[in-house]
């Protein structure tokens, strides 16, 4: 014989336990300095898990990606220029882009000769699907995925087409948002430079001997 209804009462006990725990944990959080401002997203954690978004934020993972940006060598607050921009208008990003949302126009110098720089670079952000293939394929580390996700606007025609001015961010900004990737790239660039210098020196030696 089975007695019915006991599990119902046990269930009530469980929910009451959760109910009380949210308060005890909440009080401890309010009155302890150690726990204040602690982001509550751990599986082992008890109590309320809600992150109160505009005031509290989760740390974004570095590989988090929203909308591509272009990178120029410089400090934050500076404006990009043809000298500092990294993009060479090779068009690989536009080719690999699955939804085809990138348009590039190659730049010209003062004499009207085509140079390996982009003068116009446009991304339709309504079409972009944040896949990050452009950043994966760029051979010059010129296009990268950004972290800014609060991009809602009240108007959806002009402000959603990002032109080259809007897309450009400084290397300083990129180094801040992606410290690990930046360090890796810098190390690679440094090694490459050393290798080139060594090769040049070796070539000079060979020339000398000959």
């Amino acid at each position: 014989m089975k007695i019915y209804g006991l599990e119902l009462i046990r269930g009530l006990g469980i929910t009451m336990g959760r109910f009380i725990t949210t308060y005890t944990v909440g009080f401890r959080r309010t009155f302890s300095n150690r726990l204040r401002g602690h982001v509550r997203q751990d599986v082992s954690q008890k109590g309320i898990f809600t992150v109160q978004y505009p005031e509290e934020r989760l740390q974004l993972p570095e590989r988090f990606r929203v909308l591509p940006v272009l990178i120029f060598d410089g400090k934050e607050g500076e404006r990009w220029s043809q000298e500092t921009e990294r993009c060479t208008a090779c068009g690989i990003c536009a080719k690999v882009c699955p939804p085809q949302c990138i348009w590039i126009v190659q730049g010209k110098d003062a004499s009207g000769k085509a140079v390996p720089k982009a003068s116009e670079f446009t991304i339709d952000t309504d079409v972009c699907m944040n896949c990050g293939l452009c950043a994966e394929f760029c051979p010059f580390d010129a296009i990268k995925m950004d972290h800014r996700f609060e991009i809602a606007t009240e108007e959806r025609w002009v402000s959603h087409i990002h032109d080259i001015d809007k897309l450009h961010v400084s290397t300083e900004y990129y180094a801040k948002t992606h410290p690990k990737a930046w360090a890796k790239e810098e190390a690679k660039r440094h090694a490459e430079a050393q290798r080139k210098a060594a090769a040049a020196a070796a070539a000079k030696n060979v020339e000398k001997k000959a």
Binding site: M1, Y4, T15
Partner: protein, 373 residues
């Protein structure tokens, strides 16, 4: 004639005052019950609940009200327009009516009629008419299903509700609400007697079914009937169904605290007049019962339709009938023997009927086709 007129006038004025008090207090109570429910269920689920509008989200009910007011009222085509409008009126008025019959303090009752308990139950069951009107006139499949379910559910749970409450007049000897409270101030709260405890559980369960609260919210089952009888209602008309549901829940809680928890009885609270203390006590008892309904809503899943009907007919009605006999035994043999006998009677009937109801049934071959194959 000159001195009759002012008397007549003062009577009507008193009536209007009583009416205005009920109509002014009950809807805000309902608004904050919804707030309490959202907060409490959120805490049960490790969330904060509404906490953005005003300090601690306390202005949330007003925000909800404004939202309801400015939403478009959509009447489905092919529906009975008049009845579609009448249904929310029909459900709100009786639910407010319940508060005229409930005593909140010594002499603090709007309508102290001699058949208070019976009239309360009669009014409480009219809600199903409104719900059926709402479901039927919408001329849509889901509301109709909800309406039919509601009718079947109310038919099933009305019987144990009435049978279980019959033990109160048996022991008290009156249907008047104030007499019931007075009797408990003499003999102690009825919840502490075996028949009272059983009747409380039965009335609470059947009451939850009558006001369509979890686990008996099949008529409005959000996950299967997309809102049931009020699927086709929007804006303020929908809000009125909500109002009626919560008002009925509060009325049920007050009724239960009157019938089993001694009503307004309680130690005198300092710095308050006697009436204020009484009102505070009954409010606290009712609040606790409302909280229990919310707690249940945060815990238990919904009944299945066949289980729902079976539970009422096969478990609750036999237990309610046994409880009547148990109360009679308790009355005629006072002391330990009566208490023990009535408790054993009710418990054994519950165990027997629950086994018969919920135990897995043997599969019977019922048709000719089954027998041949």
């Amino acid at each position: 004639m000159g001195d009759i007129m002012p008397q007549w006038f003062s009577i009507v004025l008193l009536d209007i005052l009583k009416m205005a008090l009920i109509l002014a207090v009950v809807p805000p109570c309902m608004m904050y019950t919804t707030q309490l429910e959202r907060k409490a269920i959120a805490r049960i689920q490790d969330r904060f609940g509404p906490n953005r509008v005003g300090p601690y989200g306390l202005a949330q009910p007003f925000a909800d009200m404004i939202k309801m007011l400015v939403k478009e009222d959509i009447v489905p085509k092919g529906s009975d327009k008049l009845c579609h409008l009448l249904a929310p009126l029909l459900i709100v008025v009786p639910s407010l009516f319940l508060f005229t019959l409930l005593p909140f303090g010594p002499g603090f009752i709007a309508a102290p009629i001699s058949t208070g308990l019976l009239f309360f139950m009669a009014l409480g069951s009219t809600g199903t008419l409104a719900i059926f009107t709402a479901g039927w006139t919408s001329r849509s499949a889901f509301p109709l299903l909800g309406a039919i379910r509601n009718a079947a559910q109310l038919i099933a749970y009305e019987v144990p509700f009435v049978l279980a409450s019959a033990v109160i007049p048996m022991i008290v000897g009156s249907l008047r609400m104030t007499d019931i409270v007075m009797a408990q101030s003499v003999s102690g709260w009825f919840i502490f007697t075996p028949w009272g405890f059983t009747a409380f559980l039965l009335l609470f369960t059947a009451g939850l079914a009558e006001v369509n609260r979890t686990p008996f919210d099949l008529p409005e089952a959000e996950s299967e009937l997309v809102g049931g009888f009020h699927t086709e209602y929007s804006g303020m008309k929908f809000g009125l169904f909500y109002l009626a549901e919560y008002v009925s829940t509060i009325a049920l809680a007050v009724l239960l605290s009157v019938l089993f928890f001694g009503g307004w009885a309680g130690p005198r609270i300092p710095f308050l007049p006697a009436l204020g203390s009484a009102i505070l006590w009954i409010s606290m008892k009712s609040f606790l019962l409302v909280f229990v309904t919310i707690w249940i809503r945060g815990t238990w899943p919904r009944f299945r339709v066949d289980r729902l009907m079976g539970f009422a007919w096969k478990v609750m009605i036999p237990v309610a009938l046994a409880n009547l006999v148990g109360a009679a035994v308790w009355f005629y043999c006072p002391g330990f023997i009566g208490t023990a006998v009535s408790a054993v009677l009710v418990v054994s009937v519950f165990l027997l009927t629950s086994q018969l109801w919920a135990a897995p049934k043997p599969v019977l071959t019922t048709t000719w086709a089954d027998q041949t194959s």
